[in-house]
Amino acid sequence: MNGRRAALLLLLAVLVALPHALPRFYTYVAAIVLLTGLLATSLNLAIGYGGIYQFHHAVFYGIGAYGTALMLTRTALPAPLGFVVGPLAAALLSLAMGVVCVRLSKLYFGMLQISLGSLVWVTVYRWYSFTGGDDGIHGIPLPDALGSTGGAYYFTLAVTVLCLAAMRRIAASPFGKTLEGIRDNPVRSAAVGVDVRAHQLVTLVIAGFFGGVAGTLFVVVDTSVFPDMMFWTFSLEVLIMCLLGGMYTFFGPFAGAAAIVLLRVFASHYTSYWSLVLGVILTLVIIFLPDGILGYAVRRHRAGEARSA
């Protein structure tokens, strides 16, 4: 346990030092890795811990980003307010979608969720006068402190660390444990008096909120938003990040997100066929390592411990 804490502190120190050691482009990439990791972790709260088929999570990422972007470009209100409005809008949407979806079980939940999400996407995609349509919004003005790549990076790092800590607390809390119980056996959980739907709804709102935070951070880092952020293929990509890292570990999805973002950046340096590379890797992982890379490592580690004990 102490070793793990030391490793986390070391990682944090490396992340803080990063902008001093790396060129600007890689600082930008590092910030994208952080916020995408936050996004994947927020999805994992629903799908890994809650067993809820949240197929279209990118919608909350997109709404968080659009909420912030619209506040910053269309109103004269102070910027920090925009940073709060984005995630809150995502949480609110998540509540609204959750209320109609939690009545349904697994697959039917997923199907209704993906249709509602697509409706949100297509509306944003076509509403030129308000959201900029398929062009999106570019060159979003930010407060001076966040204007530089370094400033945006440190803001992203701080917010991501805070959010991850909060989510970890939630996952480890009695609420989180109840949620895992619901995932493993909803009928028995209901029988012992757990309000299954209420727990799932709260989880969805939390996941939507943190997904929205990730979207807001994207606005800070990239100063733009576009409807592809909430296209269904991106939702699948985030699901894949969770799967790749391992859904039943807390940091697995973060690792998966880092792997995919970095793979995209570096593979697209060498080849224009990076999705071929990703597809092949994924196929191999799904066939041979169904609980993900980190999940596999954890299992091996535990098996090793059991042997030596």
């Binding site: 699948l236 597809g279 092949v280 066939i287």
Partner: protein, 298 residues
């Protein structure tokens, strides 16, 4: 006033007929998707890629044979067969080992196939979009209540029912179809009475893929054939299948009709947001009937 009203209503009629011909494509592709979903329980995202490959193959065939009606018919034959062959390889090589996996895993696996196939199409055909012209036989328009309806759309309007009848015959009047229907409900029982379920699954998968290829070949003369044409279509096809009831061919037909008609009428009513209406229709349907309009085989 009277003539103006006539014009408006006949304009509506043309719009509906054009919408219906697009519905044909949606129906052909989503019936293949729902067949695979119903019998094999695979939510095949790569289905959209197969549709795209069908369109590219049709384009290559038409360009190689130099256009004209024979080339068009050859494309309509070769594209589904080529895609079916690809489907056969996918089914025997991968899916046949993975039927017992969780649906979520299969969804993500087929998504990785979609990524791979998308890039393979880029390697084989390049990144530029292509287009083929409608064969001379189908050029021009029929007069319908004084308004033009392109012959090719008319042709598509005829193809839709033909495919629907063909599928009905295959499923209800052939031994293989009946077995597939039984396997959709209880594959263990089917295998217990001594039927090789693996081959039934392979047959169904290949038939479903051929439909995707046919859909791609039929759309080829109407649109720019490009990378990315798989993404928007597969989303629509999935929503149609969900709306109609998983695994139900008639559900796919009904869903395609609703999707195609709300879109064409929506564009008529409010051009900017026309494309939003079908999505709205899906949500409304699912709010009242979460398991789809018709009985699902799940």
């Amino acid at each position: 006033m009277g003539s103006l009203g006539n014009l408006a209503s006949s304009g509506t009629l043309t719009q509906i007929l054009v919408g219906l011909s697009r519905t044909t494509i949606l129906f052909i592709v989503s019936s293949g998707l729902t067949l695979i979903l119903g019998v094999l329980r695979i939510p095949n995202i790569a289905h959209g890629s197969l549709y795209m490959i069908g369109a590219f193959v049709a384009c290559t065939v038409i360009q190689t044979l130099g256009g004209g009606m024979p080339a068009f018919w050859a494309a309509l034959t070769v594209a589904p067969l080529a895609v079916a062959a690809l489907g056969f390889v996918l089914e025997r090589g991968f899916f046949s080992y993975l039927y017992d996996r969780e649906h979520l895993m299969l969804l993500l696996l087929t998504f990785s196939f979609a990524l791979i196939l998308g890039d393979l199409v880029k390697i084989v055909w390049g990144a530029e979009y292509r287009s083929v012209t409608v064969p001379a036989f189908f050029q021009g328009s029929a007069e319908l209540f004084g308004l033009p309806l392109p012959y090719y759309n008319l042709f598509l309007l005829l193809v839709g029912p033909v495919i629907a009848v063909f599928l009905w015959l295959v499923i209800n009047r052939t031994r293989m179809g009946k077995i597939a229907l039984a396997a959709a409900v209880d594959s263990e029982m089917v295998s217990a009475v001594g039927i090789n379920v693996g081959w039934v699954f392979a047959f169904t998968f290949v038939l479903g893929c051929a439909l995707a290829g046919l859909g791609g070949a039929l759309i080829a003369p109407m649109v720019n054939i490009s990378l990315g044409m798989d993404h928007s279509l597969i989303m629509e096809a999935f929503l149609i299948v969900i709306m109609g009831g998983l695994g139900n061919i008639w559900g796919a037909l009904l869903g395609s009709l609703i999707f195609g008609l709300t879109q064409s009428l929506g564009i008529l009513a409010w051009p900017q947001f026309g494309i939003v209406f079908p999505y709205l229709a899906v949500v409304v349907v699912l709010l009242f009937r979460p398991k789809g309009l018709l009985r699902s085989t799940w």
